[in-house]
Amino acid sequence: MTKLARDGRPLPMPNPTTQPFFDAARDRTLKLQRCPRGGVFFYPRNRCPCCLADDWEWENLSGKATVYSFTVDRMGHDSNLADRVPYVVAAVELAEGPRMTTNIVGCAPEDVKVGMPVEVSYEDVDDVTLINFRPV
């Protein structure tokens, strides 16, 4: 679920299952669940999508990733983000395996490339923390 930030952008509304992920982000840590069989998965779930078991444990990750793919949104497909165009929407592949949706920040949109190494970059907005990535 989303709520609108004071500046008008949509923000995540954590729930009991996902709250530890958002709490860690606020403390500048990228934390996900690791299943002893399937490895690290994203997004947080009550059971592992590899085997549906619940013996996963939270783990602090490296924050390293590569750009799997991206686009530059020139239109603001979300009208709540229209005043931010152009912005880079990306899927990054974490060093530990899973993919995340994110924004690439800290460089011009023209400088983003598929396969580019990036690292996590936190952005506090109101009472939640967004997880962006920036070039290494």
Partner: protein
């Protein structure tokens, strides 16, 4: 030789419109489409014993009973399909399978996509007479992963997702933007011969596509569908009943469906789509070879969708889609007729009815009813439906009797 248990024998299709001048409820549109389809196939209303629909606003719950009551139909098979753009293709095989197992014989498949009349009492909530979709597509519901992990980063609507797929494909296989543009140009040529196409009088060139506005890199305006209103319906019946229908029966000889993800980010591989599994199953079931296909009717929300479908449905090897498009003439009189109605890129995307246009066009071609754009030899068609973010995939093999 594949399945020959059920055939499409009749249809109705409304010309897509950017603005819809005569607002009506989905149930009203369904009644009108049903009457037109029954007339096309010379069926009596009381022969109908199966209904397949998508969710309708007037009855978000209990949809089939609402529709059966409204149409005055007593029905043995009642199905709501929710597969995004793949819904119509998914509806067709469900109807055929239900007929094959013998639970019903004559199934109406309904895809109304029209704006409801204005509410007289509530001045504030007047619906606009213009095609609009919420960019969040319901993904912002409480508890939805999309609302927490996709929407805040701008991964909304569909274009950014398909743009990311195109981005990775073009990076790995070096396909030129002009090659993607050719898909839009040749489909537009086909649309010029379709009186129902929204772009029937607007030819375009490769340069027009290349010079159109960049929307989400690398996708440009003329590579995107135009949302419209419209509606369509088809009648699926048993092989036995099909013999007494006025038009050539079109058998569903093979079908397949596959699904792996909702958000594009979690697609197992951006450039190896669920189409492969769906198409492999459909071809295997039908016994038809890829080379024998006379025409392809491929879901085309974007140009990249067509290129990936050509590859993953097995018409060429992975990475060869660009070369395939350059080598073939995709026009209705060409050597590889593709989306002879103009596709949704040329005809307009009338909600779910846009997906149905790929089915209705294949049926019209196989029945020899495609008028000014008739494919010379049309006995075997490949039809494909794509839903969501390259997520829901349905493949159909249609064969003329």
């Amino acid at each position: 030789m594949g399945k020959r248990a059920a055939a499409i024998v009749a249809l109705s299709e409304w010309a897509p419109q950017r603005r819809w001048d005569t607002p009506m409820f989905s149930m009203e549109a369904s009644a009108q489409l049903a009457a037109e389809t029954l007339a096309d196939g010379e069926f009596e209303k009381d022969e109908i014993d199966g209904l397949v629909m998508s969710p309708i606003p007037e009855s978000p719950m209990f949809g089939p009973s609402a529709l059966a009551e409204y149409l005055g139909v007593q029905s043995n098979f009642n199905e709501v399909v929710d597969l995004g753009g793949a819904t119509p293709a998914g509806m067709i095989w469900r109807a055929a399978a239900a007929i094959e197992v013998g639970i019903c014989e004559n199934v109406l498949v309904l895809c109304p996509s029209v704006p409801a009349p204005r509410r007289v009492q509530s001045a504030g909530a007047a619906p606009r007479g213009r095609a609009r979709l919420s960019a969040y597509l319901g993904g912002d519901s409480w508890g939805s992963p999309q609302g927490q992990f996709e929407i805040p980063y701008g991964l909304v609507a569909a274009t950014p997702s398909f743009a990311m797929i195109a981005s990775r494909y073009c990076e790995l296989y070096g396909v030129e933007p002009e090659t993607l543009a050719k898909i839009a140009v040749q489909q537009r040529y086909n649309a010029l011969a379709n009186p129902k196409a929204i772009n029937r009088d607007k030819p375009i060139t490769i340069d027009d596509v290349m010079n159109s506005r960049m929307i989400a890199d690398p996708l440009k305006l003329l590579e995107l569908v135009m949302p419209c209103f419209g509606g369509s319906a088809v009648l699926v019946t048993s092989a036995e009943r099909a013999k007494r229908a006025p038009h050539r029966p079109v058998f569903l000889s093979g079908y397949g469906e596959h699904l792996t993800h909702k958000s594009v980010t979690y697609m197992p591989d951006f450039i190896d789509t669920p189409i492969r599994m769906a198409a492999d199953r459909a071809f295997k079931m039908s016994g038809a070879s890829r080379e024998a296909i006379d025409m392809a009717s491929i879901y085309d929300c974007y140009t990249i969708t067509v290129l990936l479908t050509i590859e993953d449905a097995g018409f060429c090897k992975k990475g060869q889609g660009g070369a395939f498009i350059e080598e073939h003439d995709l026009r209705y009189h060409g050597d590889w007729p593709l989306n002879t109605h103009g596709g949704q890129l040329g005809m307009g995307q009338a909600g779910l009815s846009g997906g149905m246009s790929h089915v209705t066009e294949a049926v019209l071609q196989l029945q020899g009813r495609a008028d000014g754009r008739q494919v010379k030899k049309a006995d075997l068609a490949y039809v494909n439906g794509t839903g969501g973010m390259m997520a829901e995939q349905v493949a159909l093999i249609l064969e003329g009797a």
